[in-house]
Structures are given as C-alpha cells and as structure tokens.
Amino acid sequence: MGDESIIRKVIVPNRQGLHARPANLFVKVAMQYQSQVEITRDGLKVSGKSILDVMTLAAEHGTELTIIVTGPDAEVAANALVDVVKRFIEEDDEENEL
C-alpha cells in the first residue's frame, strides 16, 4: 500500500479563478504532505507543490482540475486539497467585504 494514486476532480469555484492567493493556499496545504501532488488541466500537468506551476494553469472560474496524489498519505492529502479548493470561494467573499 501507499503508492497508489488518488485522483480527484474539482471545479474552480471562485469568480476570480486560481490567482496568486488561492494558489498560495493550495501549495501551502500540498506541502504539508509527503505525497507527490500533481494537477492536470486539459492535458497540461504541473506540480501541485510549486506556486509558479499552479499559477500557470491559469484556471479560471469553472475550470475542471484533476488532482493526482501519489504517496503514503495520499488519501488524507487529496481530501485536504479538495477542501482547500472549495475554500477559494470564501477568499473572494472576504475580498468583497473590504
């Protein structure tokens, strides 16, 4: 066990898309896990632990991303990463409050 990949699909939920702050949030969470994290979008595959990579996905609102997590803590990591993408919405909300 330990080395099978967990694959999850998520839709970028927030209006402003995967910009610097959400990307930062995502990468910070990804780095907490040992597993390797990759994201694909329309055939483009990047590392989920590099903010530059994640930003270059240029994923706007509604884009479908596939998160591929491989390693000993893949299951937990994948769940946490899906959660973090859902949290992007709150990021936008907070912004509107200012």
């Binding site: 898309g17 610097a20 702050r21 930062n24 990468v27 240029a58 912004e95």
Partner: protein, 578 residues
C-alpha cells in the same frame, strides 16, 4: 488620446501634467560569467533571494498592521513564489550550466512567466503578470544594488507615473503639487494604494507596462473611480472631466457643510467622532472632516521609515506638530505598537507566532530605554494641548502597573529638571485581548479611559491569525463572541465610570454604525475619510432604533446572518445608495 485601464484604488479625478519618475528599470543585457565565478554568482543570487524574501515579509507585516486584514496575504503568495523550488532550480541551472549572470538568469526566468500571463485571456489572471514583474523588479534592484529611496517633488500640478512606489516615497510625496498616482504594478493591497487613499490622492495601479509610452509634461487625466488613465485627452474628454472635478469640489463643500454639524442622533444622543491617524500631516484631514479629536495616534511610522531609532526629540517634534495642528482638540497618543521583528538592531530572532509574542506593550516593557524616550516626549508634549497616553495590547494588570510606574518615574525626573508636563495626563489602555475585557472592572480603577481595538480583539477572541491564509476566512467582526466581548467592555467601562471609545476598522465601516450605537458606544475613532459618512448615519438614525437592532442581534448566533441583518438595516436607512 489613449486610455489605459488599471485598478482603481483611491477615488477622485485629477487633470495635470505627467511626471514620469525614472523607474531605473535596470537594462539586463545578456552577459556571461567565467566558470570560476559560478559559485560566487550562485551565492550572490541566494543572498538576493533571501533579502527579497525579507523585504516581502516586511511589506506583508506593514500592510497587515496598517489595514489589519487579508491584504497582507498577497505578499504571502509573493513569498511563496520567491521560495518556489522550480524557480530556484531554473535560476541555479541557468547560472551553473549556462554561465548566465544572476541578473540575466532572473530576467530570463521571469520573462517566461510574465509573457505567459500577459497572454492569458482572463483579465483577472492576466494581472498576475504584475506579481511576477514585482518580484523580478525587487530581485533586480537588489542585484544591481539600486537605491530604494527617491524623493518625489514637482514644480507644477503633476500626476506621478512610476513602475512602483515604495512606502517611504509615498510618505514623502510633495503634497502640494502631486495630484494623482499611476503605477504599472500593484493591486489594492499595494502600499501605493493604501497610502494614496490615506492621503486622499486619486490613484490607479496595475496599469501594466505601458508607462514608458508616456512623456513627462503630457496632459493626463486620472480617474480614480473607474481606474482609468487618459493620455493626451481630447477637448471633449477634458470638459467632461473638468465637470467631474467641479462636482468633486461641490461634494467636498457639502461634506464641509457636514463638518460643522454635530453627530447627534435623531433623538438627541451625541456621538463623538474622532480620527485615527498615522502621519503628522493627517491632522489637516481631521480638521477638514470635522473630527472631534484624534482618538488614536499611531506612532509606529516614526520607526518604520527610519534607519536609526528615533530620539526623544524626534518624538517630541512630531507630537507637538500634531497637537498644534489639531488646534486644541483632544489627542490620544498610543505608545509603540510593533513586534520584535520590526525593531532594528535588536537582534531578536524571528518569532514563530509573532502575534502571540513579544510585541507592543510587551516589547516596550522589555526595551525600556526606547519606551522611556517615547514617554518623556509624550509628557513634555502634554502641556501643549489636550493629550492622553494609551498603552496597546495590555493583557494583565501587572503590565499596566509597570507602564504606569515608568510614567511616574519619568514625571519625577522631569519635575527635578524643572521641565513642564501635565501631571494629570490621562492614561488609558487599548482593549484588544479578551483578558483585558474580563478584568476590565479592575483595570477601570487604575485608568481614565479605554479604546476597544477591534482588529486585534477579533483575532485574539477567535484565535485567528489574519495573515495566515489557511484560517483568515474565520476572521469575522460579526462573530457573536466578539460582539459579546465588545458589549462587556462597554458595560464594564460604564460601570467603572471611565470613557470608552471604539477604534479599529469596525468603527469606520458604516455597516456597524447602528449596532455600535445600539450597544451603547458614544465615541468612535475612525479613518478621517470615513467621518462624514459615519456622521451622516448618526444624524439619520435614532438611538432607540439602534438599541432595538442591538437587541435583535444579541439573540442571533450566526455571524453571516448578523452581517446580513446589519446590511439590510443600512440599506433601509439610505435606500438611494443601495
């Protein structure tokens, strides 16, 4: 005529000549190093990366301190970018295997990202090119050893055009002739944006790299509402905007009309509206907006802009200026509210949880030489006007007593030296941690007033570090626990017969005005620019209606519902503005 679209960060319109500030954007030519120099060049790169990371960290802290919210988070992303392994690998490879200079390696690596983002169709994501340009610029400046400070002065009414402006440049702007700010990079959280707003200068940031196309002395219009910069406007456009400038003037006159009216509710309760200021020159804005005084004079700026610690005289000079400019209105001077990371030359290692660490009054009580200098200056200035002193982040009675003891020591010294001071100087604390709210009945016996600092109170009540993007969404001023603590503080202060003011962003946000009045607050200290709007609300509502609203809120347990109710009430009050 050409129109550039940027991000509107500070409202207002100005028509003036362009003043293009040489952005010293270093030209990076393709140069190589010898094999023998590879290691040294790698070291130079690593040092530059470290320094830039440090600069970004400082920007993050400053923005978070000034704005008290997730504006700092953008810098957290920049920090992550500087530390990105892929970026670092690519830079190192360029130097090690291609023998590029560090400058050329940086410009090559960043050019790829910048070009990529410039081509992204989504306009918001396209703006990210600015993030990369920002970091690239910082790195190149460090590598080229560019001087970070520029003094911006103008001989005629001008609009400053620059790649970016640093906080000290913004603070040193010629305030007579500079009418607007345009920068290529930056977003709403950038320093230029924050300071421009504080200075009430129209500003448009994040225009993109078009500014080299603008010549000094070209006529420009800056539209700080729409985020537009119009170069060489045609007659019709000028007329239209001149019209708008005239309207602005009218609005200003209207606000000025409001200036001399009291903030009295429809049923006769007087609300005291004071101002929070940071820079001495903001006293003008206080007078202009009809502030009843300065409820919070932050003294940190004295430290942040400087290369060495301010002397007693430095403190004294700025305090006396503000006291003079405020023409006899009360002024509450808050002693230094910084963390150990911000005090220079102190050699203190960075803390893991700086918000729970050695900051504010805790730091002052450790660093008593510096604290004494500040207190002595406040005491000396206390004879010049209605001055009070306020200690920030007091969390135990012991801290308050220590600070007061220092103060009375200094009073004795001054007496011996026959230096005048006000022996009855009012002493207060900022209430911003739950412990001080809980113990407020005791505190009240030893102080003259409190000011509820909501930004930190929210953070400490909910245990949420606003700068940590993982938890920032949990930060919510409407949380019922926060509201209960504010209510407790107001009630305790009343019972203890001491004055209570609320400062912090909540006070300046119109959404909360009715609730705060309803909770019994009769004194608010807000950003000068927020005063007219808050005053207008005060003059429109009845305290009775506000109390009813506060009672309804007290029964609610969901922050979002509370916020919705407050917004709804505000909308009913001013249906036209909705």
């Amino acid at each position: 005529m050409r129109v550039f679209q940027g991000i509107a960060v500070s409202p207002g319109v100005a028509i003036a000549k362009a003043m293009v500030v040489d952005d010293k954007q270093p030209k990076v030519s393709r140069r190589f190093i010898s094999r023998a120099n590879v290691e040294a060049e790698l070291k130079r790169l690593a040092d530059a990366m470290d320094l830039v990371a440090e600069q970004i960290q400082t920007s993050q802290d400053e923005v978070a301190t000034e704005l008290g919210d997730q504006y700092g988070a953008i810098f957290s992303a920049h920090l992550q970018m500087v530390r990105d392994e892929k970026l670092n690998e690519s830079l190192i490879d360029s130097i090690r295997y291609r023998h590029y200079t560090a400058e050329y390696a940086v410009s090559q690596s960043f050019a790829r990202y910048i070009q990529f983002f410039e081509r992204v169709p989504n306009p918001f994501l396209r703006e990210r090119a600015g993030d990369f340009r920002d970091i690239e610029q910082r790195l190149l400046n460090v590598l080229f050893g560019a001087d970070a400070k520029r003094k911006l002065a103008a001989k005629q009414p001008s609009i400053v055009i620059a790649h970016d402006l640093t906080p000290s440049e913004m603070a040193n702007l010629d305030r007579v002739n500079i009418r607007g700010i345009v920068t290529e990079v930056g977003g709403p959280g950038s320093h230029s944006a924050i300071v421009a707003e504080a200075l009430e200068l129209p500003a448009v940031v994040g225009v993109g790299s078009h500014l080299r196309e603008i010549q000094t002395d070209t006529t420009l219009i800056i539209d700080g509402h729409q985020g537009r910069v119009i170069v060489q406007p045609d007659e019709e456009t000028i007329l239209r905007y001149e019209n708008e400038v005239e309207q602005q003037r009218q609005t200003k006159i209207k606000l000025r009309g409001l200036r001399d009216l009291p903030a009295v509710t429809a049923d006769g309760e007087t609300i005291t509206l004071m101002a929070n200021i940071e820079f001495p020159h903001e006293a003008d804005a206080c007078i202009e907006r009809g502030a009843s005084g300065v409820g919070l004079y932050r003294t940190e700026f004295l430290y942040l802009g400087q290369e060495s610690e301010p002397t007693e005289e430095d403190h004294y000079q700025v305090y006396s200026k503000v006291i003079r400019d405020m023409q006899g209105s009360p002024i509450v001077i808050r002693t230094l509210d910084l963390g150990a990371d911000k005090i220079f030359g102190d050699g203190h290692p960075p803390e893991q949880n700086p918000f729970l660490g050695l900051r504010s009054i805790r730091l002052s009580l450790r660093n008593t030489d510096q604290f004494r200098r500040q207190l002595r200056a406040i005491l000396r200035a206390s004879v010049l006007g209605d001055v009070s002193v306020m200690f920030p982040l007091v969390s135990t009675l012991h801290e308050l007593r220590q600070a007061k003891m220092l103060l009375s020591d200094l009073m004795e010294d001054l007496e011996e030296q026959s230096i005048a001071f006000n022996r009855d100087l009012k002493v207060g604390i900022m209430v911003e941690v739950p412990s001080s709210v809980i113990m407020l009945d005791r505190f009240a016996q030893e102080i003259d007033f409190i000011s509820i600092g909501t930004n930190d109170l929210v953070q400490y009540t909910l245990a949420v570090d606003r700068n940590n993007p993982d938890v920032a969404p949990l930060y919510n001023s409407c949380d019922p626990a926060v509201l209960r603590l504010i209510q407790m503080a107001v009630d305790s202060a009343r019972k203890g017969d001491i004055d209570v003011t609320l400062c912090g962003q909540m006070g300046g946000n119109p959404v909360y005005t009715m609730l705060l009045i309803g909770m019994g607050l009769r004194s608010l200290s807000v950003t000068p620019s927020a005063i007219p709007e808050i005053k207008q609300i005060c003059r429109t509502v009845s305290a009775q209606k506000c109390r009813e609203l506060a009672t309804r809120v007290r029964d609610m347990d969901n922050a979002w519902e509370i916020k919705r109710l407050l917004r709804e009430n505000l909308r009913q009050l001013f249906p036209d503005d909705a």
